[in-house]
């Protein structure tokens, strides 16, 4: 449920008769919110009047109290809504119905009482950073604040998580990987009293693995993706982002680079936005997108509503969205309301003018962007660090100090903890790894997770169980089996073994929640769905992974043949093929589509194809004119006799008729001396992201390994017995089925 400054949890309506006194929280307040709060809210008090809380109603505004308990006839609120005293309220809107008027009257006459239930919050977040006093006691400052919180809530501190649970959680939170059985064993058998802190240190100290995990978090938040084309502008920021994570760039520098890209290596793509060719709504031009996304991600403010009109759900106005957008715009922006030109031009104005003056609207763009970068990250702006701290808290604990994380106006369940963390984060140079260390060394993080935390108001009782993300799921399967995704290079050469984030999404990972990054995303839905289950239970992506994975684990996966020739990606150029046949009696020619616009109309040719003996005598030669080349469809494979030849030469390329822009061919040629594996044409070389498990033949060892890696524990005797049943005939299919079963277990899919 959403909370905000002036709208609280919606409770089930009570079935009341006409004569009963209305309940403030359930009936009166929702009415006031619906009809009055657009003007009479805590931030914007028209006539000095807010109608947010009972206290505010009784206090009233410039004209005096709005309600006199027990006396509706003398209450100004009633006079206004009936029009008895002008102007009639709500202003410029249809009047309240007779029922609604009666409701207010009966409430006032009934004593204008508060509800027994939850009351609207008076919460107003401060802008500046505050460092609250930390109580005395044992443990880190965070531990002491947490203890004070639990004491106040009369909640017992949770029990500690086991070493295995802690390790699984920490590895997944920092590397996005399960601890291998070796890593887990090493950690569990360690005797140092501070071994958990040491583990956190070790994990933080590996830039490659850390980046491979956290880049997905930032790809979601900055809607960064590779090679996505809508025939409009869009630009990736991956090289910069990767480097920023690898080098642990301080967060304020990170934000400044995104809002004010100056160097060639800076992430210009964030401000470029997502664009499609053609007309766009005024609220979605790049600078408005920039305003919405920077406000949401860095400040926890929703400017989407008020990019078209003044918001009905918060205090922000159309001019605020345009005011911020103006920082990113070369020229002054014409103001559009609901896609209609107003004739006005927007002024440049920051969302919090108290933080500083905006530059003149006709300043150079670089100056305006630099000003935005400064305003977002200056010391007086406590909102930026709080928003970041809250996102990382959520990532680790499963639920933010403030929820939803994109609405930082909502009240945290502990103001002190959020404020202290934010101030401490800034005091230590906006160091994200420092923040992670602080959180992960806390007693709270070291605790067992507790399910169930949807009580209202929320009380923090410990970490919540989290679901493996799509990337974590895929990488887990790869790490357990040793069978990894590969990424093929543009030119000839080997493919590399990579983690899930670096390859295109598959139907499986899309079903598991890997997003289409057209919009920024701060929260992936993690509830299990039937479609997702269908993919895992029955999808071909999973089936192929398990087929190969089981065989690799057992050491019986056949190697894919390597090509004699690989042209790399070809579009308009010709590539020379000149290879020794090494005694092969047959040769397989393969043409694959890489990314042609229309592969079905692409014709690939092996011009001048010739099989020659060692002494140069040519046994077969095709014509060098492309029209007589050996032509193949895309994709296709052809097997030819080598006739005892020792060398194959050809000039490969696309047929001249295929070079049209509406075909735009991008293809790749291969020659193999044995039957190729069409799914593994380009061999991968080099290390796998996680060392491959040793190949095992012993059934007990296999079962133990699966459990240890997937679940972080050995199987129980009962489980061992059931698992042995899977592997009774020693075939890979049994292991496939065991892996399948374990992957479908809630114990695997959830991180406790």
């Amino acid at each position: 449920m959403m909370r905000c400054a002036w709208m609280f949890v919606i409770l089930p309506p009570l079935a009341l008769g006409q004569s009963q006194v209305p309940d403030f929280a359930r009936q009166v307040h929702p009415l006031l919110v619906a009809k009055c709060a657009a003007c009479h809210n805590s931030r914007m008090k028209q006539g000095g009047l807010a109608l947010n809380t009972r206290a505010e109603i009784l206090q009233g505004g410039a004209s005096g109290p709005a309600a006199k308990p027990g006396d509706s006839a003398s209450s100004l609120l009633m006079a206004r809504v009936t029009g008895e005293r002008g102007p009639r309220m709500p202003l410029n809107s249809p009047p309240l119905t007779a029922d609604e008027v009666g409701l207010l009257r009966r409430w006032i006459d009934g004593g204008a009482r508060a509800s027994d239930g939850p009351v609207a919050s008076d919460w107003k977040p401060t802008l500046t950073l505050r460092a609250p006093a930390v109580p005395e006691g044992a443990g880190s400052p965070l531990d002491r604040l947490m203890d004070a919180y639990w004491k106040k809530q009369k909640v017992k501190a949770p029990a500690m998580a086991s070493d295995a649970q802690f390790a699984r959680r920490a590895y997944l939170d920092l590397w996005g990987l399960l601890p291998t059985p070796e890593e887990l064993q090493r950690f569990e058998s360690g005797k140092e009293p501070d071994k958990r802190a040491r583990l956190v240190e070790t994990l933080l100290a590996n830039p490659a693995k850390y980046t491979d995990h956290w880049i997905s978090f930032w790809n979601d938040h900055l809607r960064n993706d590779e090679g996505v084309v809508y025939h409009g502008d869009r630009q990736t920021i991956t090289p910069w982002l990767k480097k920023a994570l690898e080098e642990n760039m301080p967060y304020d520098s990170f934000v400044r680079a995104l809002l004010n890209p100056v160097e060639k290596t800076d992430p210009a793509g964030f401000l470029v936005g997502v664009n499609w060719r053609g007309d766009v709504s005024a609220s979605q031009i790049p600078v408005l997108q920039a305003a919405q996304n920077s406000a949401q991600i860095f400040l926890g403010i929703n400017l989407k509503c008020n990019s078209c009109h003044d918001s009905f759900i918060n205090q922000w106005k159309l001019k605020d969205a345009y005011g911020l957008a103006s920082f990113f715009s070369d020229a002054p922006l014409p103001l559009y309301r609901c896609d209609a030109a107003t004739g006005e031009t927007a002024s440049i104005k920051f969302l919090y003018p108290e933080l500083g003056e905006a530059p003149a609207i006709d300043s150079p763009l670089e100056l305006k962007r630099a000003a935005a970068a400064e305003l977002f990250t200056k010391a007086e702006n406590g909102r930026t660090p709080r928003t970041l701290v809250n996102r990382y808290w959520r990532a680790l604990f499963g639920r933010g100090l403030v929820e939803p994380v994109d609405d930082m106006d909502a009240e945290p369940w502990s103001v002190e903890i959020l404020d202290w963390l934010a101030a401490d984060f800034v005091a230590h140079g906006w160091d994200v790894k420092y923040l992670l260390r602080t959180l992960m060394n806390s007693r709270a993080y070291a605790s067992a997770s507790t399910a169930g935390g949807d009580a209202t108001p929320f009380v923090f009782r410990g970490p919540s169980p989290k679901r493996l993300s799509a990337e974590q799921f895929s990488d887990a399967v790869s790490a357990i089996t040793g069978e990894w995704r590969t990424q093929t290079p543009r030119g000839p050469g080997a493919a590399k073994y990579v983690r899930e984030w670096q390859v295109k999404s598959s139907p499986l990972t899309r079903a598991l929640g890997r997003p289409i990054r057209d919009q920024v995303l701060t929260e992936r839905a993690n509830n299990p769905t039937t479609l997702e289950a269908l993919e895992v239970v029955n999808g071909s992506t999973m089936a192929t992974s398990l087929w190969r994975g089981a065989r690799r684990m057992m050491g019986v996966l056949p190697d894919a043949p390597k090509p004699l020739f690989d042209s790399g990606v070809v579009n308009a150029q010709k590539v020379v093929c000149d290879v020794a046949l090494n005694g092969a009696s047959k040769i397989w020619l393969v043409v694959e589509d890489v990314d042609s616009y229309d592969p079905t109309r692409t014709r690939a040719g092996w011009a001048g194809i010739a099989f020659a003996k060692a002494n140069g005598a040519v046994m077969f030669k095709g014509d060098t004119h492309s029209s007589q080349a050996l032509l193949m469809k895309v994709p296709s494979m052809m097997a030819l006799d080598t006739m005892g030849a020792e060398r194959l030469t050809a000039s490969v390329g696309v047929d001249v008729e295929s070079l049209a822009s509406d075909i735009n061919p991008r293809i790749r040629f291969f020659a193999f001396s044995e039957q190729p594996d069409r799914s593994r044409l380009i061999a991968a070389e080099g290390e796998t992201p996680v060392a491959r498990p040793p190949s095992l033949k012993d059934k007990v060892a296999l079962v133990d390994r699966v459990f240890l890696h997937a679940l972080g524990r050995k199987p129980s005797p009962k489980e061992s017995a059931v698992a042995a049943g899977y592997l009774r005939d020693g075939k890979p299919e049994g292991l496939e089925d065991l892996l399948w079963s374990v992957l479908l277990s809630p114990e695997f899919q959830y991180v406790r």
């Binding site: 709504s281 009109h309 169930g452 057209d518």
Partner: protein
């Protein structure tokens, strides 16, 4: 200050919304359920690529090909034929559908959005979600809205099935993927893809290398393994339960008798033959079987591949002939089969395309867009003969069943170039509102996302066209 009334009214409904309107998990539904449906299932026959209306359901004066023919003179490249309904004529090649026109409502004045540039996938995104990208939220596909608001019709059938479209089509793959989702409604309401109807059975059967026996055996072992787990035994949680349930739902789908509906081989040859051998034809047969088995929304497409199928940049005449041959038998047979089984009255069939075609106008009169077609003023080769430009002014939509009038035409286009809509134009908001109306969903139904309302029709402003329906 001027504010949009419907949004203000949203705040009232939001506060007064009953908990019963809250679907499980996330987004509170708004305003649904106040319309009496006339259809329980929607079949969308998607003519991807821009179906030429004057070569199909809105024929104009026919001009035969000859070298030296002026492009501007050509409105249709086929003669027209009568239909079962007096005064209504189709283009030659649609004889079978013409024969069931008396079960149909034909819209001739569909006007596509003015998006400023012709990009098929962007217009398709607009058609399928009601919103033109970029948007500030991930927009749900019409099938996802229907699945979310109405729920599945049968617990053993995914609510939203999508047949015939591969998602890896080269350069426009990403834009295609962008709208084939449930957007912010979440993957539970996403499409269940069946790119190839012949393989439909395999998407609800164990993978090729896993026999039925093995599948059943491993399911049984899986249950035993879960029961043996000391961890799962000692702790239970809502999440565990919901994962368990989703896996069980998947398993039930895969092993239920309803899964037989996906197997086209189970259809007797005699009944299969009228659907023909094309992928689209087979998909129509699949749609009928799935409707019988309780599907809620099925989209069947002739498939969008740039420059293929209905996307005729050249050779429009021969290609249109091929496409008509592809759809004529299956579409008419689908209507007849459903009628024979007593299902047509409660099944709404909509045959539509993202825009129409014309030889001269790219875009619409008064709102031309950048020309992307090489069409000479004078034809010198047969490949110049056909409807090649992208025409957003007028398109045809054929509807049948689900409460629409029988033998009715709505909308008229001019018989002279530029062939504007001269009576009863209809845009996507109102077309969708009409479709949703038939399904029992008001045009301002929607869901709350980031505390603001998002409607099934843009701004909730769609209005159903009551004249399309038998019961107004």
């Amino acid at each position: 200050m001027f504010v949009d009334r419907s949004r203000r009214d949203f705040m009232k409904t939001a506060s007064a919304a009953t908990l019963s309107a809250m679907a499980g998990g996330g987004h509170r539904l708004l305003g649904a359920g106040k319309v009496e449906p006339t259809a329980d299932t929607l079949i969308l026959l998607w003519m991807a690529g821009g179906m030429a209306q004057t070569e199909t359901f809105d024929p104009k004066r026919y001009t035969a090909y000859e070298t030296g023919l002026e492009s501007a003179k050509v409105l249709s490249t086929f003669p027209d034929i009568p239909t079962k309904v007096d005064g209504v004529r189709f283009s030659k090649g649609l004889e079978k559908i013409a024969n069931v026109m008396d079960r149909c409502t034909l819209i001739r004045g569909y006007q596509a959005g003015d998006l400023g540039f012709i990009l098929h996938s962007r217009h398709q995104y607009h058609w399928h979600t009601g919103y033109a990208p970029p948007q500030s939220v991930a927009c749900p596909h019409i099938g996802s809205w229907i699945g979310k608001i109405l729920g599945p019709k049968s617990e053993n059938m995914p609510a939203f099935l999508d047949v015939g479209q591969s998602l890896e089509i080269g350069a426009e793959s990403d834009s295609l993927k962008a709208f084939h989702t449930a957007g912010f409604l979440g993957t539970e309401y996403g499409p269940f893809f069946i790119p190839n109807p012949e393989d439909a059975a395999s998407s609800v059967r164990p993978p090729a290398n896993i026999s039925r026996e093995r599948f059943a055996e491993r399911w049984a072992r899986y249950q035993k393994l879960m029961a043996a787990s000391p961890v799962l035994r000692n702790s239970s949680s809502a999440q565990q339960e919901s994962l368990k349930r989703s896996v069980e739902n998947a398993h039930r789908l895969l092993t239920s008798p309803a899964a037989a509906a996906f197997d086209l081989n189970l259809e007797p040859e005699k009944r299969r033959a009228p659907y023909g051998d094309s992928r689209f034809g087979r998909a129509c047969l699949l749609a009928r079987r799935l409707t019988e088995a309780g599907a809620r929304f099925i989209e069947i497409t002739t498939e969008y591949i740039p420059f293929r199928y209905w996307d005729t940049h050249e050779n429009g005449h021969t290609r249109a002939a091929d496409m008509k041959a592809m759809i004529d038998g299956p579409v008419s047979q689908l209507i007849l089969d459903l009628e024979e089984r007593g299902l047509l009255d409660r099944t709404l069939i909509v045959l539509a395309s993202e825009f129409g075609r014309d030889l001269i106008t790219e875009g619409k009169p008064g709102k031309l867009v950048k020309d992307q077609i090489k069409q000479p003023d004078v034809m010198t080769e047969p490949k110049h003969y056909g409807m090649h430009r992208h025409f957003t002014e007028a398109g045809s939509v054929l509807m049948a069943g689900g409460g629409v009038k029988r033998g009715f035409v709505y909308g008229v286009t001019d018989n002279q170039r530029p062939c504007k809509v001269v009576k009863d134009p209809i845009k996507i908001e109102d077309l969708h509102a009409s479709i949703y109306h038939a399904m029992g969903i008001p045009p301002d139904a929607g869901a709350e996302i980031e505390r603001r309302p998002f409607y099934v029709t843009k701004d909730g402003k769609g209005r159903p066209v009551n004249e399309l329906f038998i019961k107004s």
